[in-house]
């Protein structure tokens, strides 16, 4: 099975000026472990918020690439947001869902993706036509190219091993994360 941390490390290498929203839990840790960057916005809570937050950035910055990295639990909670993304159809938005079929932070309880739910099909049914499931190294290599630069909106559901990775905790201070993101992404200095 694919390893989540390796997948994100490869996805974020040579990221250019990409802006990243990381969903709560392991997805945050994976993005941080790949190398902290002020253009990463880490969600330590707000479950269900990663995809709509990414959409808000994508609409505000249509010339910039926006990547959402999140888990299957977070994506299931905001399943309706696939329809909002499909309706708005931002070409600069890419969504990578690390699907370990588990709620990783709460004891590894299975999510609905272990019991038949298909997040790529849900995204496609919501209007995000470019949605795929990734299971092999070859598929991952192709998906990384699409997530970095393919015309969006697009969703790649990467099936990853359920094992947790070593701790890698990003900064938690919300105003700090917000200010450094806006400074790095926009060049503004908030007072």
């Amino acid at each position: 099975m694919l390893n989540r941390r390796e997948a994100i490390s490869r996805l974020l290498a040579d990221r250019g000026d990409m802006l990243v929203v990381a969903g709560l839990g392991q997805s945050c840790f994976d993005c941080f472990a790949a190398g902290d960057d002020p253009r990463n916005f880490y969600l330590w809570g707000a479950m269900g918020g990663a995809v709509p937050a990414g959409l808000g950035i994508a609409l505000a910055q249509p010339e910039r690439r926006v990547l959402v990295v999140t888990g299957d639990g977070d994506a299931l909670m905001s399943a309706g947001a696939f329809a909002t993304v499909g309706a708005e159809a931002p070409e600069n938005l890419a969504i990578c869902i690390l699907d370990n079929e588990r709620y990783g932070e709460t004891g590894g309880q299975v999510t609905h993706t272990a019991r038949g739910a298909d997040l790529a099909a849900m995204a496609a049914a919501g209007g995000v036509g470019k949605a795929r499931t990734v299971r092999t190294e070859a598929e991952l290599a192709d998906a990384i190219g699409a997530l970095r630069s393919g015309a969006g909106p697009l969703v790649a559901v990467v099936k990853v091993a359920p094992e947790s990775e070593p701790g890698a905790l990003p900064p938690q201070d919300g105003p700090h994360l917000k200010r450094r993101f806006r400074t790095a992404a926009l060049g503004v200095e908030d007072k």
Partner: protein
Amino acid sequence: MDNWRDGIFEAIKAAGVTQVAYVPDAGHSRLIERSIEDNDLRAVSLTTEEEGVALLAGAWLGGAKGVLLLQSSGVGNCVNMLSLARTCAFPLVMLVTMRGEWGEFNSWQKPMGATTRAHLELCGATCYRCDRPEDVRETVESAFRFAYFTNSIAAVLLGQRLIGAKVFEEPAPC
């Protein structure tokens, strides 16, 4: 006098808003129509109001201002997502049309209508209320100043008496 609805639109424009996120309400219908028609505004229809809280956090990360239009019932859907705005000190303006109060016919609107302000205040929002048309534009302008200068959540509650209670077509039971 319905021009308070246009007053909200003008206040939104004057504040520099570019993203208008909404779950429709009859009380906001004119504002939604004008937002869709305006080429400088992105009117984003949501599947649930909490999406709008996260969307507008993203908007601000991307340098854009926004406004969230919702009905009092939708405030309940926002509760946990408001922790995003509060914890990170995101500016957020919510314009809430009230149900479950003045002349309401639908008892299912009562629980959220009766507790909308309390919910918002528990979530850290500062609430302003409008029941008179002449107060609306100024109040919305104040909410934008408050939210964007102090990096906090401002909610304007538009009373059902102001909006006009929804009329039920069957004769009243009393």
